[in-house]
């Protein structure tokens, strides 16, 4: 048995199929006709670019445009003029074979990249290797390892799966995969989760440990890879798989149900999304709406501000699709560490305490009103709620609201249609939490951004690993702030939600609801699990626990108490 890092849940029993790149002979050979070799090289480039283009389209269909972007970069590398020139020169001057020439040029670049100080650029070396192997195989007319043509059910084992390989995986044949390198965020791990097949990465020596045809168990929960297993281990796993499937079915049975505690107290479980592309996950996991639609992606990676029309189309798409379910759209949360190339940003010593989100928007009125106009127009197509991020004071909210009102007035005159919509704020700054009682008289809802609220309350940068110990979601100080916000909301009959990471945490979610929060916005994947868990808990008990927890001294004590009551 060996162990790796489990990156995608599930179990698989199947035969091993190893993907080993046959060693290709790249030794130098003298050729009699270098011109012919050069022509072969150009043909290989054309073939490679065509293949990559097809892969790009296929990947875009299967996994979406973001995953497909990598192949655009690959196409540019394949067609790179400098590599072309160097290879052609080498073939001419040394009268050598093109495979050798290409390999030496690529090696030269790979070494250059590996020497760079920049982690990001170092990784580009692997793209170059992926592309060059494809070119070499095309030049030698060796067919690509074709993963789309596997006939029986297998578990793939490879040193690493390249983007071009993972794009071809058919999950009815490939029941899981194992790689020797990689981590939770590597490309192949992400694909495994999208496909819903178990995967274990970072299992070093897996290729030596396993042979083709070995019957193995792949445990995507714990990361175990087991071969030559005795009968009792097999039976044990059959039981585990049964339980896992039962659990999954039980989760599926939660689809279409209202979220209720055991004593029939209603809650609302909604999803966090980053663009209209995430809608399918929202629907698949039966979210009751969207609790946080981050709009930043509309503004990033481009050279100019998105137009009102462009934004309107995106907002409308989401609202229309989910109507009548609520969609909370957060206005632009940018500045500080995230800059836009087309906006002037002052250098700041302390970006997280700097001019970001609403602070920036209130100063860039044109940018802000363009977004608000698009939002208000879109309100005619669904159940819109507009949320302002990083509010510290009442004045900030009132300024934003005045802007909204003036746009509504203009629309009334011009007869541009819109529907009534709520205006709320994010609570991420301790000042806003402490002042929630007053803010609640003016806003329609609160949504607590716990990640920032924790970092600002503890005065500890989330990115600073040496301060990890201060990132304490369950610290009584944080819980007390959350309680103040929930109380203020309930007092003034508005709703309050949580849209930070805490809402996705199965231990924290029941506690938040016990504290008086009504809505939890989380990653879509967690909705059904949370709904199921809540159906086994009593709201009256959660309220008691929440009160008890506030009297404790430390995060450690809070966690201990919670674990007594909530069994995950």
């Amino acid at each position: 048995m060996i162990k790796g890092i489990p990156v995608s849940e599930g179990y698989a029993f199947a035969k091993v199929l190893r993907i080993i790149d046959d060693s290709i002979d790249t030794t130098k050979k003298i050729v009699s006709d270098p011109m012919q070799e050069i022509n072969h090289f150009y043909e290989a480039i054309d073939k490679t670019v065509l293949q990559l283009n097809a892969l790009k389209d296929e990947t875009e269909k299967k996994f979406g445009i973001d995953t497909a972007k990598i192949f655009e970069a690959h196409m540019m590398i394949a067609d790179d003029p400098e590599i072309k020139n160097l290879v052609v020169d080498k073939i001419k001057t040394e009268s050598c074979n093109l495979v050798y020439a290409l390999k030496s040029v690529v090696d030269f670049y790979v070494d250059l990249f590996k020497d760079l100080d920049d982690e990001y650029l170092k990784e580009r070396a692997s793209d170059l290797i992926d592309v060059s192997q494809r070119m070499i195989k095309n030049a030698l007319n060796i067919s690509m390892t074709d993963l789309s043509n596997i006939q029986e059910q297998v578990i793939l084992v490879a040193h690493d799966l390249t983007p071009s390989q993972t794009a071809q995986i058919d999950s009815s044949k490939v029941l899981g995969f194992i790689t020797e390198i990689g981590g939770k965020t590597s490309h192949s791990a992400i694909i495994a989760r999208i496909l819903g097949i178990p995967a274990v990465v970072g299992a070093s020596k897996a290729l030596d440990f396993l042979s083709d045809g070995d019957e193995i168990i792949l445990d995507g929960m714990e990361g175990f890879i087991i071969k030559n297993y005795p009968l009792n281990v097999k039976e044990n796993y059959i039981q585990k798989i049964k339980n896992y499937e039962l659990q999954n079915q039980a989760l599926k049975s939660m689809i279409g149900k209202q979220t209720l505690s055991m004593d029939q107290h209603p809650y609302e479980l909604v999803a966090n999304i980053g663009s209209s592309r995430d809608l399918k996950h929202v629907l698949e996991h039966d979210a009751e709406g969207v609790g946080l639609f981050r709009t930043e992606f509309l503004f990033l990676d481009r050279n100019a501000l998105p137009s009102e029309e462009e934004q309107f189309i995106e907002y409308k798409k989401v609202l229309e699709k989910l109507n009548p379910k609520p969609v909370v759209i957060r206005t632009l949360d940018i500045g500080g560490d995230k800059n836009l190339s087309y906006l002037k940003f002052e250098q700041e010593l302390n970006p997280f305490l700097g001019k970001r989100a609403i602070r920036l928007c209130l100063d860039e009125i044109e940018l802000f009103s363009t977004q608000l106009r698009a939002l208000i127009r879109a309100s005619a197509y669904g159940n819109l709620k507009i949320m302002f991020p990083m509010i510290a004071t009442l004045e900030e909210f009132l300024k934003a609201k005045a802007l909204v009102d003036s746009i509504k007035k203009e629309f009334d005159i011009k007869k541009i249609p819109y529907h009534p919509f709520e205006l709320g704020i994010m609570i991420e700054i301790p000042a806003a939490a402490l002042n929630a009682y007053h803010l609640a008289k003016h806003v329609d809802f609160f949504s607590i951004g716990t990640n920032d609220l924790i970092q600002y309350t503890m005065a500890a940068d989330r990115m600073n690993q040496s301060l990890d110990y201060l990132y304490q979601p369950f610290n009584p100080a944080i819980l007390r702030l959350i309680k103040m916000v929930a109380d203020a909301a309930n007092k003034h009959h508005i709703w309050s939600g949580v849209c930070g990471e805490m809402a996705s945490d199965l231990l924290a979610a029941p506690l938040l609801l016990g504290l008086g929060i009504h809505e939890l916005s989380m990653i879509p994947n967690n909705i059904l699990k949370t709904r199921k868990l809540l159906s086994t808990l009593k709201h009256s008990e959660l309220e008691k626990i929440a009160l008890n927890v506030l009297e404790l001294e430390s995060e450690e004590q809070v966690l201990a108490l919670l674990k007594q009551y909530i069994h995950l």
Binding site: E82, L112, D115, D118, N303
Partner: protein, 85 residues
């Protein structure tokens, strides 16, 4: 024609801005080089310009093989618009 600049992009010259730059330069009918330290990189080659390893604050030279000042102007404009300089 040579002109010196200082790279201002926060993360150095990464793939996305580099890709955009290569695309842009490829539309010009002249040869263009980025010169950094002792290396001259063909600005129409993504591999070449990534591999010279410029980072924020690097002083580099743009060399345009043309006497037409218009080309240098266009390049400078692109670099500015993309906040590379």
């Amino acid at each position: 024609m040579d002109k010196k600049f200082i790279l201002k992009a926060e993360n150095g010259l990464h793939a996305r801005p580099a890709t955009n730059f290569v695309r842009f330069v490829s539309t010009l009918p002249v040869r263009v080089f980025l010169i950094y330290k002792d290396f001259a990189a063909d600005a129409k080659s993504i591999m070449a310009i990534l591999s010279i390893g410029m980072s924020k604050g690097s002083e580099f030279t743009v060399r345009v093989e043309s006497e037409n000042p218009e080309h240098m102007k266009l390049i400078e404009q692109h670099l500015k618009e993309n906040q590379l300089i």
